[in-house]
């Protein structure tokens, strides 16, 4: 299989969609840490990975978004599960899905989300504590054998940089880092006020091979951000918007955007110059399939 970074320059790559909404649909209960299903419900995870592979995703993501030891401890009642085991199991089973279902030409991304704690003045998270949490997670993902690392949904550059450095400490594989931003009057910002310009400068300097944005925004809102970031940097870009904004219907989250609408808008992100695209919350395999068709026709 071709190295990931080499392929980036040749065609637009497609990442998979939202994991959380798939697991909820499969019966994930209130207050249950989704990451633990890597150990307790591998059958469900195999099914989700297969669905995204069938839909045509070039890259699938491990179910380890909340699997730093810090986040796992916070989301577990009683004794927290062993973070290394949860991560390694997540990587191993996704790797198995790729092999068993005959998708040897796809890449596996080890997914890393925020610790859930905040740096001062909002919280007491330190650089050292964040680094150590990400190092433990990255090492376990490396042991389960991933092809690349995907750090996502970061809202504080300090935490994102700690994650990139931690991955760099344990692996030479490509690292992608996405922030999550909102559009304000003066432009795009994370909740702590970090900007696309800072991301473009500091994340590659810390060792990220690709940067981008995910979550928070629907596909239409992310198009201008893609143009803005393209103007800022030559570093490859990845964008993974949500499937519109969720609406609550009888206590359930419903994403009203259709796969076709989503795919049409994400193609504008591609036209703005992104090297890779995918989906976040609410994007089922149908969304990825619709996007696959449009990407194939575009190429």
């Amino acid at each position: 299989m071709k190295p990931f970074l080499e392929s980036l320059g040749e065609r637009v790559l497609l990442f998979d969609g939202g994991m959380g909404s798939m697991l909820i649909a499969a019966g994930l209960g209130e207050g249950e840490a989704p990451d633990v299903w890597n150990i307790t419900r591998p059958d469900v995870l195999m099914g989700v990975h297969k669905a995204f592979l069938d839909a045509g995703a070039d890259v699938i993501q491990t179910n380890t978004f909340g699997a730093t030891p810090v986040k796992l401890a916070a989301s577990s009642r009683g004794a927290p599960p062993d973070a290394a085991k949860v991560n390694e199991a997540g990587a191993t089973l996704a790797r198995t899905a790729i092999r068993e279902f005959g998708f040897g030409d796809r890449w596996l991304a080890g997914d890393i989300g925020p610790t859930g704690e905040f740096f001062p003045p909002m919280g007491v998270l330190t650089e050292a504590r964040a680094f150590e949490a990400f190092r433990i997670q990255a090492e376990a993902l490396e042991n389960g054998v991933v092809d690349i690392f995907l750090i996502e949904t970061m809202y504080d550059i300090r935490e994102a940089v700690a994650a990139v450095r931690a991955v760099r400490e344990v692996s030479v594989k490509p690292v992608v880092c996405e922030l999550t931003m909102e559009r304000k009057k003066r432009g795009y910002f994370t909740i702590v006020g970090d900007t696309p310009a800072r991301a473009a400068e500091e994340l590659p300097a810390a060792g990220a091979d690709m940067i981008g944005a995910n979550c928070s925004m629907a596909s239409a809102e992310m198009i201008d951000l893609a143009s803005e970031m393209r103007a800022l940097t030559k570093t490859p870009l990845l964008f993974q918007p949500n499937a519109g904004r969720p609406e609550m219907v009888s206590g359930k989250a419903v994403y009203r955007q259709t796969p076709e609408e989503f795919a049409a808008e994400v193609m504008k992100i591609v036209e703005a110059g992104a090297e890779a695209v995918g989906g976040c919350c609410g994007t089922t395999p149908e969304f990825i399939r619709a996007l696959r068709a449009k990407l194939d026709a575009w190429r």
């Binding site: 209130e30 919280g123 304000k184 009057k185 969720p246 609550m248 206590g251």
Partner: protein, 212 residues
């Protein structure tokens, strides 16, 4: 005095806790009316911080340090307020993130802003059982229960808080506001909540408007 009030406001906007405490002490030393110092000085500052945050001019760190400065000023002023003029409490609020949900930051922000704006707040933290919300509200004589839920899977817990109030015949006596990323006005209406607040500033406005 006008200049002093401007300085009080600015200390909050700047998030300067030592300065806010110092100005609060100076207000007492000079014998300025405490309520006026709060309302026309410090509280104006925290409202300005809230406005700038909503406008996207300030972000979470500035909002937090502004609220911290407000707290420091209030710590100095509160004893004088309670001793002298009739302590004008805007109301009591019991707040927490619903059981099964550990998302804390939004809820803490709302708690801080409510307390910075003169509400008496009991923050129960995250992963709070339904009964505990209602027990605590009964115990403290709360006007409001504020229930945060950040997950579509934990939102139904907000409704259970309302059901629990109903089963103890406390509906109408204790109001319920809901918030958190997946919530909306429609959701609040659907479950019969008394209000929805999309952020900390909206929560303060809602509590002010309906606590009378």
């Amino acid at each position: 005095m006008k200049e002093h009030l401007e300085q009080c406001m600015q200390a909050i906007v700047d998030g300067d806790s030592p300065k806010a405490a110092e100005l609060a002490k100076a207000s007492l030393d000079k014998g300025y009316p405490v309520l006026e110092v709060i309302e026309k000085g410090f509280a104006r500052g925290i409202r300005e911080v809230g406005r700038l945050w909503e406008e996207g001019e300030l972000f979470l760190p500035e909002l937090v340090i502004g609220a911290e400065a407000m707290k420091k000023a209030m710590e100095v002023l509160r004893p004088a307020l309670e001793a002298g003029e009739a302590a004008e409490k805007l109301g009591r609020v019991v707040i927490g993130t619903i059981e099964g949900d550990i998302h804390d930051i939004g809820k803490t922000l709302v708690a801080t802003m409510l307390s910075a704006n003169g509400f008496e707040v009991t923050d129960l933290g995250a992963d709070v059982p339904v009964k505990r919300f209602v027990d605590e509200a009964e115990k403290t004589g709360a006007d409001w229960i504020a229930v945060s839920a950040l997950l579509t899977t934990t939102m139904p817990g907000q409704k259970r808080v309302i059901d629990e109030l109903a089963s103890r015949s406390l509906r109408g006596k204790i109001r319920v506001m809901v918030g958190g990323a997946p919530c909306s006005k429609e959701w609040a209406a659907e479950i019969g909540a008394d209000g929805y607040a999309g952020d900390a500033v909206a929560a303060v406005a809602l509590a002010r408007q309906k606590t009378a």
